[in-house]
């Protein structure tokens, strides 16, 4: 049983839970850039939140299924069409053998997740199966999908209620305007006294350099001390670095594990799934909060989402 890629789009990869416990080996997180949309899609077809799905970036993508299959789509896609007919997101959809599934461009927003009620055959390493593109590891031969690729899967009889549908109040709102909450980074003071105030004063826009590794932000440059570089230290998805240009650089899921630029801020865990919906031109307003408050927000979000999704992890 398999899915054939008819149109792959800009960057379509197999992504699920991130790699954990291997950052000291230089292995990045990878995994779904928007873990919340992934979790919602997986849940609709009876899978747990971190299982492998297809992550589609910005442009539309078309797939053909050679066997009947249950799927769900959640994300920023403008439309979902089966053989040219519009179908909704946020509910399981039944496909018949030979059906063509067209997932529209992601806008506003950046990414859409296609979950399939079957076991997708992906390359495994370090206990994970997500794609890490820079090193060509995991996923579908470590790379983005191309037209004519055939993704094998094993049918699993899905035990789901076909009437399942994400409650309206839990459906993410996809936008090009984001408020992202940050805590102070370790070098916020060393890099520049008052850098957090400056970062949160004016909105930033995501520049042309925007991918799974990181996003260059454009806006009022932040002034900083001469000690532009520091001894390399750990960075994480959501860390905001201050390179010599003064334009902040926001790290994404595929970001390297250590870096030598001052770490001025860190996007809080509860807001990190939104990084996956940032694309060139997205506008960001940063808001500075304490680590304690960030933990409260994270737990509130988990509790809200787990009322629908059950056990859930956000990364």
């Amino acid at each position: 049983m398999s899915i054939t890629v008819l149109k792959a789009g800009l960057q379509t990869t197999l992504q699920g839970a991130p790699f954990t416990g291997s950052r000291h080996l230089g292995m990045p997180a990878a995994g779904a850039a928007d873990c919340l949309s992934l979790a919602l899609a997986n849940f609709l077809i009876g899978k747990s939140c971190g299982e492998i799905a297809i992550e589609i970036t910005l442009t539309d993508a078309i797939f053909e299924f050679d066997e009947p299959c249950l799927i769900a789509v959640v994300g920023a896609a403008e439309y979902v069409r089966i053989n040219g007919q519009d179908h909704p997101q946020h509910q399981p959809l039944k496909l018949m053998a030979g059906d063509k599934l067209d997932i529209g461009p992601s806008r506003p927003g950046c990414r859409t997740y296609l979950a399939i009620a079957a076991e997708i055959h992906a390359d495994g390493l370090l206990g994970g199966q997500s794609t890490y593109l820079a090193a060509g590891l995991g996923g579908f031969h470590g790379r983005a999908l191309k037209a004519k690729d055939i993704i094998p899967f094993s049918q699993v009889a899905p035990a789901v209620d076909l009437d399942r549908s994400t409650p309206l109040n839990l459906r993410p709102h996809y936008s090009n305007d984001h408020v992202l909450r940050v805590t102070r980074g370790p070098e916020a003071v060393e890099a520049c006294e008052g850098v957090m105030d400056d970062l949160c004063l004016r909105p930033y826009a995501v520049g042309a350099r925007a991918n799974r590794m990181g996003l260059a932000l454009e806006g009022a440059p932040l002034s900083k001390n001469d000690s532009a570089n520091m001894p390399s230290a750990a960075v994480f998805p959501g860390t905001i670095q201050l390179p010599p240009s003064g334009q902040p650089y926001l790290l994404g899921p595929d970001a390297q594990t250590t870096g030598g630029y001052p770490r001025i801020a860190q996007i809080i865990r509860a807001d990190r799934h939104l990084i996956g919906q940032l694309g060139s031109g997205s506008r960001i307003q940063f808001v500075h909060i304490t680590a304690e408050r960030a933990t409260e927000i994270h737990r509130e979000k988990l509790s809200l989402m787990s009322s629908w999704l059950g056990q859930i992890n956000l990364w």
Binding site: T20, S22, G26, M27, A135, P186, S232, Q256, T257, H298
Partner: protein, 223 residues
């Protein structure tokens, strides 16, 4: 968040701890590894960071726990003390910056292999890419600096040097370090139980090999 150690910085799901030297960092890595609370333990050059699940642990508790676990660090090197020998081919075909580096060092390009291979190096940390090793030489060395513009493609196994620090590229990737040779060894093999060839704290010595030996080795690695 009052009264905690000023060397500890707290974010909402990770904390960074400044440490005085590499031996303390290794000892800290060792001590922290005994706890199941840390989802990541990442050594840096003058710090270590731990990540945790904020659903289970508050930032303050995490900081307190890390402090407690790092009390009375015993300075044992956790990894095997045996020196890892890394074969390197310094042939010009695999060393595009041989002349540039030799000139910076004030030595003849032909003397570069013996100069580099005579030094004992320590793995300071892994980072940048899976298995990518940052090495520090025990010997003083003039600063060489990075290339003015990074290369789009540096081959896996390439040895870079910017002075006392050398590095080994683990995958084909962009890179800005001047390249003086290449090893046929795989720095990261996901099929292995321990995928990374090197670990922070290990000592490394390079051994010069001929281009023929390199080619044979690479053929065998691929087979």
């Amino acid at each position: 968040m009052s009264g905690h150690d000023p060397m500890i910085h707290i974010c909402d799901d990770w904390i960074s701890i400044k440490l005085p030297d590499w031996k303390t960092i290794l000892a800290a890595q060792n001590a922290l590894s005994a706890s199941s609370h840390w989802t990541e333990i990442v050594p840096g050059l003058d710090s270590i960071a731990v990540q945790f699940d904020p659903a289970l642990l508050s930032p303050d508790d995490a900081a307190r726990m890390a402090s407690d676990q790092m009390k009375n660090l015993t300075r044992v090197v956790s990894h095997s003390s045996a020196t890892v020998v890394i074969p390197v081919c310094y042939d010009a075909a695999l060393a595009p910056d041989r002349e540039y580096v030799a000139e910076k060092l004030g030595i003849a390009a032909a003397a570069l292999p013996s100069w580099h291979a005579s030094q004992l190096q320590r793995v300071a940390m892994l980072g940048f890419m899976p298995g990518f090793a940052y090495l520090e030489s025990e010997e003083e060395c003039p600063a060489i600096g990075r290339l003015a513009s990074p290369r789009q493609l540096v081959s896996a196994g390439s040895i870079g040097i910017i002075g006392r620090q050398s590095c080994i590229y683990s995958f084909d990737s962009p890179g800005g370090w001047p390249i003086i040779g290449r090893t046929p060894l795989r720095l990261f093999d996901p099929a292995k139980n321990q995928p990374a060839l090197l670990a922070a704290g290990q000592t490394v010595r390079f051994q010069s090999i001929t281009k023929d030996a390199f080619d044979n080795w690479q053929r065998e690695e691929k087979a």
